[in-house]
Amino acid sequence: MGRVREPFIHITRREGMPLWKGLCIRVGAVAAALLIAALLLTLSAPNSKGFGGFFKSLFEGTFYVNRRGEMNNFWLTLQETALLLCVAIALVVAFKMKFWNLGGNGQVLMGCLACAACMYYLGGETEDPLVWLLMLVASVAAGAVWALIPALFKAFFNTNESLFTLMMNYVAFYLVVFFVALWYPEGTGVMPPLSDANLPTFGAGQMGKSLPVILVAVLVTAAIFCYLRFSKHGYEIGLIGDSKNTARYAGINVKKVIIRTLVLSGALCGLVGFLLVGSINHMVSKTMDGNRGFTGIMVAWMGKFNPLIMTGVSLFIVFLTRGMAQVCSDFGISNDALSDVVIGLIYFFLIGCEFFISYRVHFNVAGRRSRPAPEFAVEGAQKDGSSEASDASGAPEAPPEASEAPEETGAGRGEEAPAPPDASGGARQRQEEET
C-alpha cells in the first residue's frame, strides 16, 4: 500500500452567511487591524502615549472638543464624509453599468476649475446670486463634459474607458496648474483664496460652513438612490451592467444610455467641485480633488454599490483617516508614511476578511480530515497528513472567463451583487482542467 497524499488545505465556497455574523467578522477585522496598528505605533513612536492614547487620539480626530467648547472636528468629519460620499455615488452611477469611470479626480478638478474661474472673473463685478448660479452651472457642466468625452469614445469606438478616464485626470491636473499660473504668475503656483462670490454659510462656526455641503450630500445620495432603484433610467443602467446583450435585446439604445449616464456621473463630480471651491476653499489648487476619485472607488466597492452601506463606509474611512492623522500628530510622528501604512493595513484586513466571509477553509491535519471519515477501516494505508501541499492550492486562482457552474446546483457565479471581478467563481479549489 502506498502513501496516500491528501491536500492539506481544502477550500469550499460558503452558501451564504447570516447578516449579523458577517457584520461581526468585519467588525472583528477592523478591531484586529486597529490593535495591530496600535501596537505598531505605540512601540515605534517618539512620543508614544500607549494603547489608550492611541484610541483616544483616534477618536479625537472626530470628537475633539476644544477650549471654547467647539466641536469643529465633528463637523469637519461630516463634511469630509459628505464630499467623499458624493464622489462615490457619482462613480456608482457609472459602475452599475460596468463603465469603469476612474476619472473622478479629473472631473472634480474640472468642476473646481470652472467654479474658480467664475469667481475669479466675475466675482465682485456681478451680483453674487448670479455668480453663484453661474458657478453651479459651470461646475456641473465642466464635470459632465469631462466624463462625456470618454463616454463618446466608448460608445462609438469602444475605447477602453478605464485608461481614457484615467488619462483625463492628468489633463485636468495640468489645466489647473496652467490657469493658476495664468492668474498668478508671480509666486510658487499657489492661488490665494478669493473673497468674492463665496457661497453663503448656514450659521456660525464650522457647523455653518459644513452644513451646506452635508445637506447637498444627503440630497444627492437620496436622489441617486431613488434614481437607480425606482426609475426607468436606473433599470436600464442595471440591465446594461448585467448583460449588454440582454439590454440590446430589450431594445435599449446602449450608446445613448452610456452617454447619458456618464454625463450624470461627471455632473455629480462637478457638483462636488462646486462645493469644494465655492463653499470651502474659495480657490483652486491642483490637489484639490484630494484623491477622492480613487478613494471613492473603494467606497463604492466596499459599500457594494448600495448608497446606505456606502454612507457607513465613507464615514468609517474619513473617521479613520482623521483619527490616524491625529494619532501621528499626538505621538510625534511626523512622517506620513507610517500613517499610510496603518491605513493600508486596515483596508487590507477589511478586504481580506471578505474572503473568509465567502469561503470556508478546511484543514486536513495529521491525517484527519475535517469532514467525517468513512465508516469502514482502512487497510494499512499510511495517512501522511503533513502539509504536502502538492498541487492543492491554498487560494482560489483568478477565475477563468465564463466559469461554469456545476449543473447540479446551478448556483452559477454566485456572488452577492455586484459580482466584483476578483472573487467570483472560486467554487472549485483549482480551475486547472486537463490539457
Binding site: 470628537f63 472638543v65 476644544n66 490665494p192 489648487s285 500628530s329
Partner: protein, 408 residues
C-alpha cells in the same frame, strides 16, 4: 437576534461616548503650547529643516513633547485654515512654514486675537496690520553670498590648476556656472543673484576673468527627476559648478556622478556626495523659534517682520566640504566679518549692471497686491536694501552675467 443587535449597538454607543468624553477633557495648565503646520513632512528637506529647528528650540526652552503639536502634510488650501483653527484651540502660538499657508493663517489670526500666528516666507504681515500675525525670514542672501565665495574659491583653484576645459568658459572667457531654480520669482532670483555675486567677487579678485551663470527653472520645489535633468543639462552646456534652490537630492547627485562641484542649500550633502560637496547655506530657524517662544512666555510683542541675520545665527553655513579649495574656510570668515560689520554689502549696485548700466533707483513690489504694483524705492546709498522693508526677499532684477534658460 434583535438582542444581539441591541447589545452591539449599546456597546458601540458607550465606547464612543466614553472616548468622546475622554477626548473632551483638556487639562488646563500654565505651560505654553506651540503649534506647527508643515507643508510636507520629514521627507522634505525644506520642512525637515523647520521641524528639526522647532523641536530643538522647544527642547531648549523646556517645552515638552506634549506641548508641541505638529500637523504635517497640510496643503495650501482651506485645510490649513482648519488646522490653524484647531491649533488655535489648543495652543498659544501657531507657526506655518510655507508661502501658500499665509492667507489661511491670516484668516485664523483674525478670528483668534489671543493666539499668536507666525509665518515664514510670508509677505502680508506688514500690510494687513493684524496684530497677532507675523512674518519671518532671514537675510539668506548673505548666506548665499558666502556660499558663492566658497564656490568662487573653488573655481579659481580649478582654473589655476588647469582643470577646466574649453567648454567651461563662455565666449568672453568667463567661467560658466549653473543654477537649478524652482520658480522665477523674487525669492529664487534673490538667492541665485547673491550666490553669483559672491562667486564673481572672488573670481574677479583673484583672476582677470569673471563668471557667468545659466539658470533653469523646474517649476517645482521638489521634483527629483526634473532637478537632475536640469543639472545634467547645465553641466552639458559647460557649467563648471552647480548650485540649486530645490529640495531634493536630484541636482547634488547628478553632480556627484559627473564629478562637478556642488553648492547645496538647506543641508549638507557631504554624506551622499563626498567628492563634490563644497558647502551649503541654510536658514537656522532655532533663533527665531526661541525668540518667538520667549515673546509669548513674557507677553511681549513679536516683530511683524523678523529677519534673521548672520549675527543672530539665523543665516548659517554648513561645514566646508573636503572638495572645497584651500583657504575657503578662512576666506569665508573674512567676508562674513565684513558683512556683519557692514563694510561689505551683497547687493552693492556698483558691483552689477542691469542691461549694461548700474542702477540707481528701483521700485520693488514689496506690498502684496493683485496688480503686482511696484511700490517701494529700495535703493539707498547705492545699495539695494534687500529684506529691509519686509522679511521675504523682493530682489527680482535680472542682472547681466546671468542668463535664464527657460524663464516662463
Amino acid at each position: 437576534m434583535k438582542k444581539k443587535w441591541m447589545a452591539m449597538g449599546l456597546a458601540a454607543a458607550m465606547t464612543v461616548a466614553g472616548v468622546a468624553a475622554l477626548a473632551g477633557c483638556t487639562p488646563a495648565d500654565d505651560e505654553i503650547t506651540v503649534g506647527f503646520i508643515a507643508l510636507h513632512d520629514d521627507n522634505s528637506t525644506y520642512d525637515k529643516n523647520f521641524l528639526d529647528a522647532i523641536r530643538e528650540a522647544c527642547a531648549n526652552k523646556g517645552i515638552d513633547d506634549d506641548h508641541l503639536i505638529i500637523y504635517t502634510n497640510v496643503p495650501e488650501e482651506n485645510d490649513c485654515y482648519d488646522k490653524a483653527v484647531d491649533l488655535a484651540g489648543r495652543c498659544d502660538v501657531v507657526f506655518a512654514d510655507s508661502f501658500g499657508h499665509e492667507p489661511f493663517i491670516l484668516a485664523a489670526a483674525k478670528e483668534f486675537p489671543e493666539v499668536q500666528f507666525c509665518h515664514a516666507t510670508g509677505t502680508m504681515a506688514h500690510t494687513e496690520g493684524v496684530a497677532n500675525h507675523h512674518n519671518a525670514f532671514a537675510h539668506i542672501y548673505e548666506g548665499r553670498y558666502l556660499a558663492g565665495v566658497a564656490a568662487g574659491m573653488k573655481l579659481v583653484e580649478m582654473h589655476e590648476a588647469g582643470e577646466l576645459e574649453a567648454a567651461n568658459y563662455d565666449a568672453d572667457g568667463n567661467i560658466k556656472i549653473g543654477y537649478v531654480g524652482a520658480y522665477p520669482y523674487a525669492e529664487v532670483v534673490s538667492g541665485y543673484t547673491s550666490f553669483f555675486l559672491g562667486a564673481q567677487s572672488v573670481v574677479e579678485e583673484e583672476t582677470d576673468i569673471s563668471v557667468s551663470m545659466e539658470v533653469t527653472y523646474t517649476s517645482s520645489w521638489f521634483d527629483e527627476a526634473a532637478e537632475r535633468e536640469s543639472a545634467n543639462n547645465l553641466m552639458s552646456r559647460g557649467a563648471a559648478l552647480i548650485s540649486q534652490h530645490a529640495d531634493s537630492m536630484g541636482a547634488p547627485s547628478a553632480c556627484e556622478v559627473k564629478d562637478v562641484p556642488n553648492v547645496s542649500y538647506n543641508g549638507s550633502t557631504a554624506n551622499a556626495c563626498p567628492n563634490t560637496y563644497i558647502i551649503s547655506s541654510r536658514i537656522n530657524w532655532v533663533p527665531y523659534f526661541e525668540y518667538m517662544i520667549d515673546c509669548v512666555m513674557n507677553g511681549e510683542e513679536i516683530a511683524a517682520d523678523w529677519t534673521g541675520t548672520l549675527a543672530n545665527g539665523a543665516v548659517a553655513l554648513t561645514e566646508v566640504g573636503a572638495a572645497a579649495a584651500e583657504g575657503t574656510a578662512e576666506k569665508i570668515e573674512e567676508v562674513k566679518a565684513q558683512l556683519m560689520a557692514g563694510t561689505l554689502h551683497v547687493f552693492d549696485c556698483s558691483k552689477f549692471t542691469v542691461n549694461g548700466e548700474h542702477i540707481t533707483e528701483y521700485m520693488a513690489d514689496v506690498d502684496t497686491d493683485e496688480g503686482y504694483e511696484k511700490d517701494t524705492q529700495v535703493i539707498e546709498n547705492g545699495v539695494f536694501m534687500e529684506s529691509k522693508y519686509r522679511s521675504a526677499p523682493y530682489f527680482d532684477l535680472r542682472i547681466d552675467g546671468i542668463t535664464e534658460l527657460n524663464a516662463d
